[in-house]
């Protein structure tokens, strides 16, 4: 074994395959297809555990810690055309699954049409993580504390899934199905996302223990006002890190729509209803408190932008 430090074991190793004393993933085989059809074929070839590799910023830690032991890794980075950022006629965007977080955060088109999505991407990890991590990878991984699933849910985005029988479109509110669970079939690949543009009334915030960590709790808000008076007449508020998936704060949305200005943000915050998990980072009560405070804060951001 590579771990053995006896002379014979080391000598038996080929020169360009020196032994390693470090953490290693379990052995797997690797393919880097240049066509989506090849990737789909590898995925559906009957191997019992095939994993898709995009940015690898969540997958590779899980491989290194041997929480996952796939037999085959299919690297999508050789498939051209999966990293596009393009405008849609109605004002929205179509984004390829391999768009990196750093590009999402910096793209002028994303910042102009869906600034909430750019802001959400800016909150992910650190530059070195954002340079590699991808939109599609984050969505397919579906960590309940991740920023992009919440951003897609609050914006009412659609996800494009390619499979052996063709393509299908799934709305964000049906895509996220639980802890690390999505509507993706085992033979399907998430290839792109369609995100509608949003108005000026948006807010985004999260609380982390250390810069770059997953959020203990976070909130994304989009509101709009069509009538000249009142606070707003449409509202979507989504919390993350407070359930097994990103969730709408329906009671907060209602409280906000029923408010006639004044302390609308505080009422939306006070109306937050959620049953967050407790772990070593934060108790359920603390997460609920954070959700309340961040909701008030992000609604305030959104109202201020709407009135600016």
């Amino acid at each position: 074994m590579g771990w053995a430090i006896s002379g014979s074991s080391v000598a038996a190793t080929a020169r360009d395959d020196p032994p390693s004393f470090f953490l290693k993933p379990a052995p797997f085989r690797y393919a880097r297809p240049r066509f989506l059809a090849d990737a789909l074929e590898l995925l559906g070839a009957g191997e019992h555990d095939v994993k898709l590799l995009a940015g690898g910023q969540s997958l590779v830690p899980m491989l290194n810690l041997r929480l996952l032991r796939p037999t085959v890794l299919v690297d999508l980075n050789g498939v051209p055309g999966l990293d596009h950022i393009a405008p849609l006629p109605g004002g929205g965007l179509t984004l390829g699954a391999l768009v990196r977080h750093a590009d999402l955060a910096q793209s002028p088109l994303v910042r102009e049409r869906t600034p909430l999505l750019a802001e959400a991407a800016r909150h992910i990890g650190h530059p070195a993580i954002r340079h590699r991590g991808t939109l599609g990878g984050s969505l397919a991984h579906a960590d309940p504390a991740a920023e992009l699933p919440a951003a897609l849910l609050v914006l009412g985005a659609e996800l494009i899934l390619e499979g052996p029988r063709g393509s299908r479109t799934v709305a964000a509110d049906r895509f996220f199905q639980g802890l690390l669970a999505t509507a993706l079939g085992p033979d399907e690949i998430l290839t792109a996302v369609r995100v509608p543009a949003h108005g000026r009334g948006w807010g985004f915030g999260e609380v982390v223990r250390r810069s770059g960590d997953f959020a203990m709790a976070g909130v994304a808000v989009v509101i709009d006002r069509h009538a000249p008076a009142g606070s707003c007449d449409s509202a979507r508020i989504v919390g993350f890190g407070v359930s097994d998936r990103p969730m709408r704060f329906a009671d907060s949305e209602r409280a906000l729509l029923d408010s006639d200005g004044g302390d609308a943000a505080a009422r939306a915050g006070a109306a937050v209803t959620c049953d967050p998990p407790a772990d070593v980072h934060a108790s359920a009560a603390y997460r609920r408190h954070l959700a309340t405070v961040i909701t008030e804060d992000t609604v305030r951001q959104a109202l201020a932008r709407l009135s600016a």
Partner: protein
């Protein structure tokens, strides 16, 4: 039908030199640099993307080399601390780290230099907030970061090295 391989031959550029090697596909870029190429300046800490000690530049952008497999780097250009060090002596950034006592055990230092190099390329005169934001990606267990911030400020010419 295309097949998946256990070993592959990769061609890439490391510190401006062409490299061609056959590798086991599960070998990380960090291990490839250290063990196949003998470039031990890239340090390996947590091996799951948290500590930042293994940070290198891939096609000019910082990346955790423990979260990349060497086979993914076919055709890419990688720069390590060895590539950021002049043949003789030290770079101004490295000199500033020495002058301000910005290292103690030195384990995080190569990746600190890599990260600071990227920061100064993007922001030649960074604010303290920008420096601290960039350094948040790198764990240092010794210094408390104060002298590392000073070193980067000194290298940027933003203010005197020590008060």
């Amino acid at each position: 039908m295309m097949t998946a391989a256990e070993r592959l031959t990769i061609r890439l550029t490391v510190n401006d030199r062409p490299v061609e090697r056959e590798v086991v596909v599960r070998r990380s870029l960090a291990d490839f640099l250290r063990e196949n190429l003998g470039l031990t300046g890239t340090h390996v800490g947590c091996e799951h993307g948290v500590c930042g000690a293994c940070t290198v530049l891939v096609d000019g952008r910082s990346a955790r080399s423990c979260l990349l497999f060497a086979v993914q780097l076919d055709g890419a250009s990688v720069t390590t601390i060895e590539g950021l060090t002049p043949p003789d002596g030290l770079s101004p950034l490295q000199r500033a780290f020495c002058d301000t006592h910005a290292m103690q055990c030195g384990f995080c230092t190569p990746a600190m230099i890599v990260t600071a190099t990227e920061l100064l390329a993007q922001h030649p005169s960074p604010t303290e907030e920008q420096i601290r934001d960039a350094l948040a990606a790198q764990l240092c267990m010794c210094t408390g970061y104060v002298n590392i911030v000073r070193a980067i400020q000194a290298a940027a010419g933003a203010r005197p090295a020590m008060p």
